[in-house]
């Protein structure tokens, strides 16, 4: 009947079962990342940065003499696929997991890592809940979403002193928790939230929602979004001549070079929260940023810097670890206290988070088409420009 076909299919299946032979001296690290799909842009920045870090570590003799051999698997931004990859890696004996980008994938990976007792280092997923589960094996290097905008809020309180704020955010875990955090911060500063509205990520037109904002005339417009929406929002704000004393973004889409490339002059003077900038005086930060730019033509965003630094963190953890088992690396991670290109990294249990690194956040402003660090003043690369000129006064 269908026998030949069945046999052919089973051979195909069986061949896929065969594991790839691993060499003893190398440390093979496969990283799950979204390399296709909507958030592939972030995956790409991170992939390049992982590669650069591995190259540098290997040139300096690897981890305790073992070179890192990097591999990548495309999770396509789907939790099931991310989980499949991680199940395979853990089963295949990889003692530690690093990577993923979207919060929903990171949550799926974190749950697997915890139940399989394998340390997982989150490098760029921001949803607060990831490190609030009392997980023992989940570490996060980037700041939690609740604190993403700390420096920006500080800047707002000291310089802008607005009375009203409009918060626009996309309907994702990242957008929602970012907007909630900003609402709380605004209330603390006594700023009145005149509107807090979500929109469908990837919407083709924001004019209805922006017209509504315009009619409310807020002092500050704060937006949380991934890449494409950020530039479209600013372009349409310009077209509508929506005037506010300050336009601001909550990291992600507002803090990567594509934002300025796409929004062009509409991006000028926009302030954004961010976790990292290329001009910081952390050890190796500028060298990494310049090297990245020389290679790929643009400065990396904080996602890249975090990915880049994560391998150095891993190296520190594995150098300290007595053995390279999951348990050993987990204890090594807990003991990490390292100054990296991404800033100081140390995993703490506080404010209801576990194994969370609390990095100082920053505010950046687009000035003449370049991101400049403006806040906190200790890290500022240029003084901030405020007040921001009205649209008609701009050339």
């Amino acid at each position: 009947m269908k026998r030949p076909l069945v046999i052919a299919l089973s051979i195909l299946l069986l061949s896929a079962f065969l594991p790839l032979g691993a060499l003893a001296a190398e440390f093979k690290l496969v990283v799950p990342l979204p390399l296709t799909g909507k958030v592939a842009k972030f995956g790409e920045i991170m992939k390049r940065s992982f590669e650069m870090a591995a190259e540098e570590i290997n040139a300096a003799g690897g981890i305790k003499g073992s070179p890192i051999v990097l591999g990548f698997e495309d999770s396509t931004g789907k939790p099931e696929t991310a989980r499949a990859i991680v199940e395979k890696l853990i089963e295949g004996g990889q003692p530690v997991i690093v990577g993923e980008y979207t919060s929903s994938c990171a949550k799926a990976v974190a749950a697997v890592a915890e139940e399989r007792k394998t340390p997982y280092l989150v490098v760029a997923s921001a949803d607060d809940a990831i490190t609030q589960q009392n997980y023992r094996y989940v570490f996060r290097q980037n700041q939690v979403n609740a604190h993403y905008a700390d420096a920006f809020v500080n800047f707002m309180g000291e310089v802008v002193k607005p009375k009203t704020i409009a918060i626009l955010y996309e309907t994702t875990a990242f957008g929602t928790s970012g907007a909630d955090a900003m609402e709380k911060d605004a209330q603390k500063l006594g700023i009145n939230v005149v509107i807090k509205e979500k929109y469908e990520a990837g919407a083709p037109d924001f004019k209805p929602i922006l017209s509504k904002v315009k009619s409310l005339n807020p002092d500050v417009v704060y937006m949380v979004s991934y890449v494409m929406d950020a530039s479209l929002l600013m372009k349409q704000i310009k077209e509508l001549r929506l005037e506010a004393r300050l336009f601001a973004g909550g990291a992600a889409g507002f803090a990567i070079p594509e934002f300025v490339d796409n929004a062009k002059d509409a991006a000028e003077y926009v302030v954004s929260a961010t976790l990292w900038t290329p001009k910081l005086n952390y050890p190796g930060a500028q060298a990494y940023a310049e090297k990245y730019k020389a290679k790929y033509g643009d400065y990396p965003s904080y996602h890249g810097a975090s990915a880049y630094a994560s391998l150095f963190v891993l190296k520190a953890a594995m150098t300290q670890a007595g053995n390279w088992t999951a348990e050993g690396i987990r204890d090594g991670m807990k003991a990490v206290d390292l100054k990296t290109a991404f800033g100081p990294v140390k995993f703490e249990d506080k404010e209801g988070y576990q194994n969370q690194n609390f990095v100082e956040t920053l505010a950046i402003q687009v000035q003449k088409g370049e991101f400049e660090t403006i806040w906190p003043k200790a890290h500022a690369s240029k003084p901030h420009i405020y007040p921001v000129p009205k649209w008609r006064d701009r050339k």
Binding site: L5, A16, L20, E73, E80, K88, G92, E115, N134, A173
Partner: protein, 324 residues
């Protein structure tokens, strides 16, 4: 479209079930990533259930749904909310989802089944999208975009998950098989072939279409409730996804074979397992979307009735002669 009922003697369901039940034994094969493969097998079986559900409504009864994510999502959220709000195990969701999804499907049927053909299909798209947006906005109830996260899943091991979903799949298979061969099944096919003719023969088409919808929805909801327990995390974008759930359900059946007995199962193997294998081929796998897309185009051009539906053509295509 094919003949209503496949030859019941063919296919040997019990033999297939026995073979599937032995799959967890791959843990005994040295050098095999048992957990990884079990994860994929679980997803395949889960998708075959969703496929059978879609096949019942759209394949046999001819009411093409683009909104099965609605039922999948309601099932998933029933389980998730039992856990998050009442502190119960999410497994109760598989039981609770039956009345909840059934009631939701009645309501959907009341609205959408007044429409025919493409209009029905469009309205189901709307239902799926509306439910996603509702789940995103009822923050106090569903947790909105933050989703629902189950802190600790029941088992680390996959074997039990596999047997649970396999049991649901076997029951669904048996149920659909019986249903299609029954009077009800003939009514469904009559409605698919010509609704007006069916009506003129005295079949209460609205009633039977509603029955098909509710049964199909409940089956799909079971898969959704299972998903919550198995994955431990749901959010509106994941479980009410238009592309990743609704369209996927259609593709599973289209590729496998519409209105065939084994179509959904074969389709799930191709859409999940083959997609995963292509994704993990070293080097070439980078272009997995392209490769898989080409494969789907080839299937649709040469096997318009699906792999099972056009098994004869497939044999000719591969120049495989029928033995004996």
């Amino acid at each position: 479209m094919r003949a209503p009922v496949a030859n019941p003697g063919r296919g040997r369901p019990l033999a297939v079930l026995a073979a599937l039940a032995a799959l967890p034994l791959i843990a005994l094969v040295p050098g095999v990533n048992a957990n990884y493969w079990m994860h994929n097998f679980i997803l395949v079986v889960m998708w075959s259930i969703i496929g059978m559900s879609w096949n019942l409504l759209s394949g046999y009864c001819g009411q093409v749904s683009f909104g099965h994510a609605a039922f999948f999502g309601i099932g998933a959220y029933t389980a998730g909310l039992l856990y998050a709000k009442l502190g119960l195990s999410a497994w109760w969701g598989m039981l609770a989802s039956v009345p909840v999804v059934g009631a939701a499907a009645l309501l959907v049927g009341f609205i959408c089944l007044r429409l025919r053909g493409p209009f029905f299909a469009l309205s189901t798209i709307a239902i799926g999208v509306i439910l996603r947006i509702v789940a995103e906005n009822l923050v106090g109830f569903t947790g909105g975009d933050q989703g629902i996260m189950i802190r600790e899943r029941t088992w680390v091991e996959k074997t039990w998950y596999f047997y649970i979903i396999l049991a649901v799949a076997a029951a669904t298979f048996w149920f659909v098989d019986r249903l299609v061969a029954s009077r009800l099944g003939y009514y469904f096919v009559a409605i698919r072939e010509d609704q007006d003719a069916a009506e003129s023969l005295g079949i209460d088409t609205t009633r039977y279409k509603t029955i098909a919808l509710v049964l199909s929805a409940v089956i799909c909801g079971l898969a959704g409730a299972f998903y919550t327990s198995y994955m431990g995390y749901i959010d509106p974008k994941v479980v009410f996804a238009l592309h990743d759930v609704s369209v996927m359900a259609i593709m599973v059946v289209m590729v496998g074979g519409v209105a065939t007995r084994w179509g959904p199962a074969i389709g799930a193997v191709i859409m999940i397992l083959l997609a995963e294998i292509i994704r993990t081929i070293p080097k070439v796998g980078t272009a997995h979307h392209t490769l898989f897309g080409v494969l789907l185009i080839v299937v649709i051009i040469f096997l318009p009735n699906g792999v099972v539906g056009d098994a004869g053509a497939l044999r000719r295509l591969l120049r495989i002669r029928r033995p004996s």
